[in-house]
Symmetry: C2
Subunit: 346 residues, 2 copies
């Protein structure tokens, strides 16, 4: 955000800026009939159901531009919305992108943000079909709405988990949270000194999990290929505990998760030790994982464990048994939603 | 926003707050299959095309809570999105609502905001199907996305205006802008003194136009009843000049508007004089009118002038004639987009 060779946004104006950022946006999807440039976009969902999800990201709450490159922020902003559509067992097709900017942003900053957005959209074949560009008194606000499609009988809600179902997660947990701890520590150490380059070597994976999460389309594809339809599913944004409790509440069931089966990457474990943090707590409550949490009938056990990067971590119980974690030494602890809660943290 | 008898948002938490605000939201539309409570809403648009529009409203830029009651803000936030759907000749059906709040807001403030949203939605038979509730470091941010429906052959874009078409507007122009001037003047005079009540008697209409605009569904209904399909249409949010230039640019045409035909309310004229402002400038560039601007074939003249509250203000020309206002004394002035531009004002 230095001002050398930077273009003031006022030189383009609102409509000029929108034209500049949204030029060369050929629509890729048959369902995108008309994109940017009118009062509304026009879409065709005659054959499928429409899925709609939205996120509002605020500077200082959801992201810190001291260590978040704008290109990564654009990528992540889109990706977290795609993740919600995949978590319904659907396919993302369109997004609208609204941004509010304060005076300190230049046209080039927005170009970076849009480069990240476009990359995420290209990887998932999603069209940018509209939005709003405006100003803010302080900081950056980003609101993305994603539309996706699914056949009605393919849609997976949070409310279908049944007793004896297996609880599964994709990937591993807690890595994005440890990446955030690393970034926050370096920020505290180095402040705004731009001549010092922090050494993150060997920790790149954790940073990438925080700054550039990937929506798990591959898992959805694998489940479909194996003809497994989860009984319930959601994506993990606020931490495994919080999301598991959503599924249990909406499905009217309980669960038992096994600490020893929580999938954790080696780097996550190393850094948790370095920070003197409890590793399972990081995995349960860290958040920002954007992995998929889902339940399947026990009869799908063999098929589901054969899918790369899917882990069975527990099972669904009767509701009266509550929701608990069973530790390595066999103790039971009630699951609590201690995930990231922006409205309680402040 | 006083704290007597106020409930801290932290006492409910994010999910508690969402549950509280979104309880008792029965879905009214057949196209709303599943609303709040999962990763995404599920909609059925098998019979119609989907229209999507979105707006991001920032405190201090788009609204001032010193003189904007939160209930009005909720109402207006929804209404401006409905207006975009009507401007495509469609019908709004669903909205998602995202809000980011700073510490100074209480649960009761959000209840007020939602009361306004719900009122607007009830009047236009729109379902609230999702959203995001989070926090901000400073101020309030509101992002609303509206989905609507239309038959493909009913949709009216900005790009269909043809030479000799009549240019029409609904209602009157400049009133919301004069309402804003009044509110800003009282704010400057009284500041934060809460014991003084400004006297707005006789000016209520202007305040209402600013604080509680109405999307012109009635005009869309009348046009349909008269079997008039506009050749182009948009809603007036940034001022008549700016919107007219959008239509001319996208349609590849020019226009002549007549100053004497600009529809202006009596109260607007009185206050413009009091403020020593040029009345036509207010009508052309004021913004926030949320009236409809549209073009129709000249053969529809008799039918269109018979519609209550529709005014013919000019006609479409060849592009080489440019876009101009013809004043009362017969002079031609090129139309310029001097409407409200948040990215240039700051």
């Amino acid at each position: 955000m230095q001002s050398n060779n930077r273009t003031e946004i006022a030189t383009l104006g609102e409509f000029g800026l929108i034209d500049h950022l949204t030029k060369d946006l050929p629509l890729q999807n048959a369902s995108s009939l008309y994109g940017v440039g009118d009062d509304a976009a026009v879409l065709n969902y005659a054959q499928k159901k429409v899925l709609v999800t939205t996120d509002l990201l605020m500077e200082g709450i959801h992201f810190d531009l001291v260590y978040t490159p704008l290109k990564h922020l654009g990528y992540k902003s889109a990706m977290v919305n795609f993740s919600d559509i995949y978590a319904m067992n659907g396919t993302p097709k369109q997004i609208t992108v609204s941004i509010a900017l304060s005076k300190r942003f230049f046209v080039e900053d927005l170009e970076e943000f849009y480069a990240g957005l476009r990359l995420a959209c290209a990887e998932h074949h999603v069209d940018i079909v509209g939005g709003d560009t405006t100003s803010s008194l302080t900081g950056l606000a980003i609101s993305i709405t994603c539309l996706g499609e699914a056949d009605e009988d393919e849609i997976v809600y949070r409310n279908g988990a049944k007793e004896t179902n297996l609880v599964c997660v994709s990937g591993n947990l807690g890595a994005a949270y440890m990446g955030l701890q690393l970034l926050e520590r370096e920020k505290a150490l180095f402040g705004n000194k731009t001549d010092v380059q922090p050494d993150f070597s060997g920790k790149e994976y954790l940073l990438e999990r925080q700054l550039k999460p990937e929506a798990r389309k591959d898992i959805i594809d694998s489940l479909r290929k194996e003809k497994i339809k989860p009984t319930s599913m959601m994506d993990i944004s606020d931490g495994l505990s919080s999301e598991m409790l959503h599924i249990c509440k909406q499905s009217g069931v309980g669960c038992r998760l096994y600490e020893e089966h929580l999938p954790i990457d080696y780097q996550t474990a190393v850094i948790a030790e370095e920070f003197n943090m409890n590793l399972s707590t990081c995995a349960l409550n860290g958040g920002d994982d954007y992995e998929l949490l889902f339940t399947v009938p026990v009869s799908d056990h063999d098929k589901v464990v054969a899918i790369k990067d899917v882990h069975v971590i527990g099972y669904i119980t009767k509701p009266e048994l509550g929701s608990a974690l069973i530790t390595r030494d066999g103790q039971e602890f009630e699951l609590k939603a201690q995930g990231w809660n922006p409205l309680e943290d402040k």
